[in-house]
């Protein structure tokens, strides 16, 4: 993929792949193009070259709501809940395209995040950071995605809450959903992932299994805090 906002390319040649049932993490320094790469997959960034393929079909340039229909889910880093809507309404909006499966999916999301059931009637804007993140992930799950893309789901959360979120991500994956994750907390993210991509200045720098990346001394120095 090559592309960016306006005239400036942020992605100069990024190549990513996620297999079904896989957790793949993208790491890299600030400005390496991690979030932009994710947005490009979801049709939010104009691509100048390259393509996005999903489930065997070319989906380059499709609108987000078409991609949701095909089975892609995206949780942006910021502004990822409807603040004035209740938790329940947030989740309902996630199932907007598939109102028939609403009840079944609600049950699944509540099983995954029991705390959301307790807070169902509360406006999402009143929840704590971790709970809001759960609403955001839950909202994306309501559309029954095959691939879930999470942009820094643990940004700004305490270590304890971060742990919970990672654990829930693994649980989502075990339900058979592929996961693409952008993370600053590279060590924890790699510890739950199958594979990892390291991006630098909008290009692929390294691609390896998560275990190998964790052991790589060069990666250790740059991204894992020594």
């Amino acid at each position: 993929m090559v592309g960016g906002y306006g005239g400036m390319d942020i992605l100069n040649g990024v190549d990513l792949a996620v297999e079904a049932n896989e957790i793949v993490v993208i790491i890299g320094a600030n400005g390496a193009g991690k979030s932009t790469a994710m947005k490009a997959i979801f049709g939010l960034v104009q691509l100048r070259a390259g393509s996005v393929r999903f489930d065997g079909q070319d989906v380059t340039g499709r609108l987000p709501n078409a991609l949701v229909g095909l089975g892609m889910g995206y949780v942006p880093q910021e502004r990822n809940v409807f603040r004035n809507l209740t938790v329940l309404e947030n989740l309902e909006m996630g199932a907007f395209l598939k109102p028939m499966t609403l009840a079944r999916m609600l049950e699944q999301v509540f099983t995954l995040f029991p705390v959301l059931k307790e807070k169902a009637r509360q406006p999402a804007g009143e929840l704590s950071g971790g709970q809001r993140q759960m609403v955001a992930v839950g909202r994306a799950l309501m559309a029954e995605p095959k691939l879930l893309m999470l942009d820094e789901p643990t940004a700004g959360l305490s270590p304890l809450v971060m742990e919970q979120i990672f654990e829930r991500i693994v649980a989502v994956n075990q339900a058979g959903i592929g996961i693409l994750l952008v993370e600053q907390n590279a060590r924890q993210a790699l510890s739950i992932a199958h594979r990892g991509y390291v991006l630098a200045t909008g290009r692929n720098r390294l691609t390896d299994t998560a275990a190998a990346l964790l052991d790589n001394p060069e990666i250790g120095q740059s991204f894992l805090g020594g």
Binding site: L44, N65, R79, M93
Partner: protein, 296 residues
């Protein structure tokens, strides 16, 4: 006291209901599309004249013609959006505002061409007010305007809080980008916004015609109080617009009561100045309105 209630307060509530119905549409359109819809008053006028045509053609009472006017106003608004506003969806807001100014002039001119410029009336003759209790009397038209507005407001509340499309409207008003990402068909939400905004405006226009007389600038004359009501309630907040509409309607009528001397406190010809005053005061004191709307 009875005189105050019969001649100032109750008519004020009826006028307030008319403002509320119009202001809700302005607020909803602002919440979803982020622009001030200047043609809203003329959609009201269109609704009022559509009802007039039904009354003349079929000989029905204006109240029976109301659903047709609502439907006509709703479809006309959706059509105008499709033809005029939709190409500007990604343009800066001011361009759409100016476009709505153009629509305003076109709609009003079309009404003048089709129905003429004379003052018209839904029915002739005078109806005696109905005694309620004691000296309190209520004009029949006021009872119907108030009751119908309550029913319409309740239906709107149900729609926004219970229906899938209503919730999607609130979601899009909250964060349009996130709505798109969630898979909400935002163009469908926009169409529903126009149907509802236009339908409510048409109802307000018919009620305004019942309350006074029909003339081609009946809606345009109400545009200022409508915006005052929407801003008072917090622009983008439909429930705020209902409260704002009632407050401005009552304030306008009650301000003409002879509070200090034999003469009205504010001469009736200056009623609109009361709305203007409230709007300016609100923008200075609390620009987000009573219900924390968006800052214009």
């Amino acid at each position: 006291m009875a005189e105050f209630i019969n001649l100032y307060l109750l008519p004020g509530v009826a006028v307030g209901c008319i403002y509320a119905l119009g202001a809700v549409g302005i607020s909803l359109i602002f919440a979803i599309l982020r622009f001030a819809h200047f043609a809203h008053g003329d959609v009201m006028t269109l609704g009022a004249y559509l009802a007039y045509s039904v009354v003349i053609a079929l000989g029905w009472s204006v109240y029976a013609a109301l659903p047709f006017a609502i439907l006509g106003g709703a479809l006309a608004s959706m059509g105008i959006d499709h033809v005029v506003y939709r190409p500007f969806r990604r343009s800066p807001g001011i361009i759409v505002v100016i476009a709505s100014f153009g629509v305003m002039l076109v709609v009003r001119s079309a009404i003048q061409l089709f129905w003429g410029v004379d003052i018209l009336s839904y029915e002739t003759g005078i109806r005696r007010p109905i005694p309620l209790f004691g000296d309190i009397r209520l004009a029949q038209k006021h009872i119907i305007i108030i009751a119908a507005s309550v029913v319409i407001a309740a239906a709107l509340h149900w729609f926004l809080s219970r229906s899938r499309m209503g919730k999607a409207m609130r979601a899009m008003s909250d964060d349009a980008d996130l709505a798109r990402i969630s898979g909400i068909d935002t163009e469908k939400v926009v169409r529903w916004t126009w149907l509802i905004g236009g339908g409510l405006a048409a109802a307000a226009g018919v009620f305004a015609g019942i309350n006074t007389k029909l003339h081609p600038s009946i809606g345009w004359d109400l545009l200022l109080p409508l915006f005052a009501a929407a801003i008072l309630g917090g622009i983008g907040r439909p429930y705020g617009a209902i409260v704002g509409g009632l407050a401005i309607g009552i304030a306008q009528e009650v301000a003409t009561y002879p509070w200090l001397s034999e003469l009205p406190l504010v001469p009736p010809a200056y009623k609109n100045a009361v709305a203007f005053f409230v709007m300016v005061a609100m923008l200075v004191w609390r620009p987000t309105g009573l219900f924390k709307g968006r800052v214009l």
